[in-house]
Symmetry: C3
Subunit: 340 residues, 3 copies
């Protein structure tokens, strides 16, 4: 796609300073950009790249807008402008609508003419695809589930029976939505399986990463609210609720019935225990264990940064004696008090 | 399914107090239950819900059995009763037996008439499905593997060559059983692959979660004993042994040749190093690192609960100086001793 | 396969001491080996097994070569010898070349006659398989991607559009290569998706584990250099670079734009933050958090070994007061200084 800077400025919501007729056909990073590309600059530390850029235009904040050797597209949030420019210049090619002949569609399923169903998909009884849904190769859509308008399952996604998915949801390959929750009642030493009768309900504009797993609820539903973004290899247990616009980096694990608020940012490898609440607007940094409800918005951590192994072993040896140390110090203090 | 309380009491092994003719057709949680449903109460803290429940019957322990506005089903372990009631009232609909026309079955594989093979499955040479096995869509059953009676692979499960699976095993979507173990011999800077010649052997009544991976053994087998339950996104390396009835929450990683005992409970995100032993009846809490063999049954931990980020940074700064602190205190003590 | 020890010695690069005509047809572990098998011994602690082994030959280092009741194959690195012997005696049976009739191959894709394409694969437009490539059942090869000579995708592997894979690469089941990176620009409270325009580029002789995910780059590429080995359930974010011959155990998570050097060894469950550098020849032990660039080669750790739960709770309580302790000690010192 080729756009004039005039057109692009409108598309991304920026003020154009420069030649409106110049055309661009791709995005690029500011240091490697060449003629015909548009770059962005949002961090003042990289301002030196602006003077030397080969881009035809740079999306930039008002503070950084001077000194460019090319046109600038000025807006408060250049990173957002870049996202919009990349969408405008690099639109995804939508495959032709229609159902591939190798796919197996139950007679009671509803697949509108506008849907794309790639090869080797399976759509079970009473499942519903809404308008413009796109299934890549090898997706399984379980019975009675519903996929909302313009949602896209990239490839080999499994949607288990009864799952409800909103509009414009993107699900990366290998994700599993609606697998059984991990529920077992002890019967002496053995475990009796508890049928998992709830569903997974996903809002609009959610993104779910590759090989991420989201379990159905035990009795009530597991819920992912609109606008939440989940990265790869995340585990969401039964009856979890994730609030709107919350983002989670890869390898997060959330235990059953945890309630995560809206607009949270959960770092990679974080573990969240079950039956607790994380309020709105919480940030949890990488590899932190959230073992209790958090008291309010803010940043929480318990990750341990890597140390040279020898130092770390010394620290550990001391840490495991920290209780002794506290007691010795208390003893000495009381002896000192006796002396005084 | 609709059952009289008389029938239900027999099915779950409870003593009925109330009208034996009342019928129920579903389970529900005690606070949202309505007429026709059966709920359970096992925690004295929620006893207030009993008085106000709308359920037609409540499964309850003898201590909590009084004060219900409806029939009660009394048994020592109400949670187990609930599991059984849910199974009785919400039985899974078994698809019709038979092999879907799109599946590819090797001529030397054995698939009994009672088996269900969904669309797009592949069953390779000499693989054996026993009676009543159920394969959902897109499963791959490798050569010479065997799936025991009444086991169910939900969808898109990969069973690699030679894997042996017991009876009534349930495997959630995306799980991979029998992938190559991670074995490489150093050859200078490069790595030579060591063929992985062992198998995965799984007992009866095992459950394996979505996208969980279990590697085949290098020479001997990787073994999951009967009754073990593994949640989603767990990694089991080659030659690991997991004892009977052990349960593991999501995101656990177990390195090669670790031996985990029976009746253990392993929390989410736990890491278990290779070549060690975890004895029977060990509980490991979430995100703990088991780096050495554990000495006996009991509860083990090393998870760090989240702190406000500022506090945590202060704690970390101090922790990294803990060795200095110990040394200063030892110095001061010896100086104090000199003075005395 | 049956080989004489003479042949085997040549194949593995060892010096034979013993009867060159003896034949072996399998590898075995030294303590369970029987007639016709070859074992190895590399650890002096297990030397007692050598005297009693039932193997027909043992691969052993010069220091441990005496006292065997059978032939010995002497070489500096017996473990490497074992890897080579196992490859020679247990070669993988390559399926017959050809495309299974249930696979869907785009007319513009290139599949040479020497390739194996199992059932239910999908090969999209302009994708290229080089000579001898082997796709197991259910693999998806996205548009314009290329799979190098003699690479093997075991089963149900997803290769997204544009991915470049080198020669002799092995990818275990369920892996996803080239899924969208996790890139979103904030737009008030909601998130705007940033199209992920880079590729994944993988060198030669790489191994990728089951259900591991590797995201495509945002603008530039995500790169896995030749000889790297990745275990199961690893998450590699966009624009990460992993150097040649680096090995990573299961459950590692690497955030965006991290650069990992060559010949590194990354333990299980390690988390590596984004936009940092890990130099060549770094070892990171299990469950460590690498939150900053590491200064040079060496071993780094921050894993906390499991403690009995009660001890751990006491340690934690003290740790969370460590700042108070430091301050009290500093106070007391200054008071002591006042007294002096």
């Amino acid at each position: 796609v080729s756009l004039s800077l005039k057109e692009l400025a409108v598309r991304i919501g920026a003020e154009l300073r420069g030649d409106a007729a110049v055309r661009v056909d791709r995005v690029a990073s500011i240091d490697t950009a060449s003629q015909g590309s548009v770059a962005f600059l949002s961090d003042a530390r990289y301002k030196h790249n602006l003077q030397s850029t080969g881009a035809s235009a740079v999306i930039v904040s008002p503070e950084l807008a001077s000194g460019a050797p090319c046109a600038v597209l000025v807006m408060a949030n250049p990173y957002l402008g870049y996202a919009r420019a990349a969408q405008a210049l690099h639109p995804r090619l939508r495959p032709e609508a229609g159902v591939h002949s190798t796919s197996v569609i139950d007679a009671t399923a509803r697949v509108p003419p506008s849907a794309v169903v790639g090869p080797h998909c399976v759509i079970e009884a009473e499942a519903v695809l809404e308008k413009g849904v796109e299934l890549g190769p090898g997706c399984v859509i379980g019975a009675r589930s519903r996929i909302g308008e313009d949602s896209r399952l990239v490839a080999r996604v499994t949607i288990c029976a009864g799952t409800q998915i909103g509009r414009r949801v993107v699900i990366q390959p290998g994700a599993v939505i609606g697998s059984d929750g991990f529920g077992f009642a002890p019967d002496g030493d053995r475990w009796e399986k508890i049928p998992q009768l709830g569903r997974v309900v996903i809002g609009d504009d959610v993104e779910i990463g590759a090989n991420t797993t989201i379990d159905r609820g035990a009795l009530q539903d597991t819920v992912i609210e609109s606008g939440a973004k989940l990265d790869n290899l995340i585990q969401v247990a039964h009856n979890v609720r994730i609030g709107s616009n919350t983002v989670m980096a890869g390898c997060v694990g959330i235990a059953g019935s945890a309630k995560i608020g809206s607009n949270c940012m959960i770092g990679g490898g974080v573990g969240i225990a079950g039956h607790l609440e994380v309020p709105d607007r919480v940030t949890v940094t990488g590899m932190t264990l959230v073992s209790k409800s958090l008291p309010g918005p803010g940043v929480y951590s318990s990750g341990l940064p890597a140390q040279p192994n020898k130092s770390w072993n010394r620290i550990l040896a001391r840490l495991f004696k920290i209780d002794d140390l506290f007691r010795k110090i208390a003893d000495r203090r009381s002896r000192a008090d006796d002396k005084d």
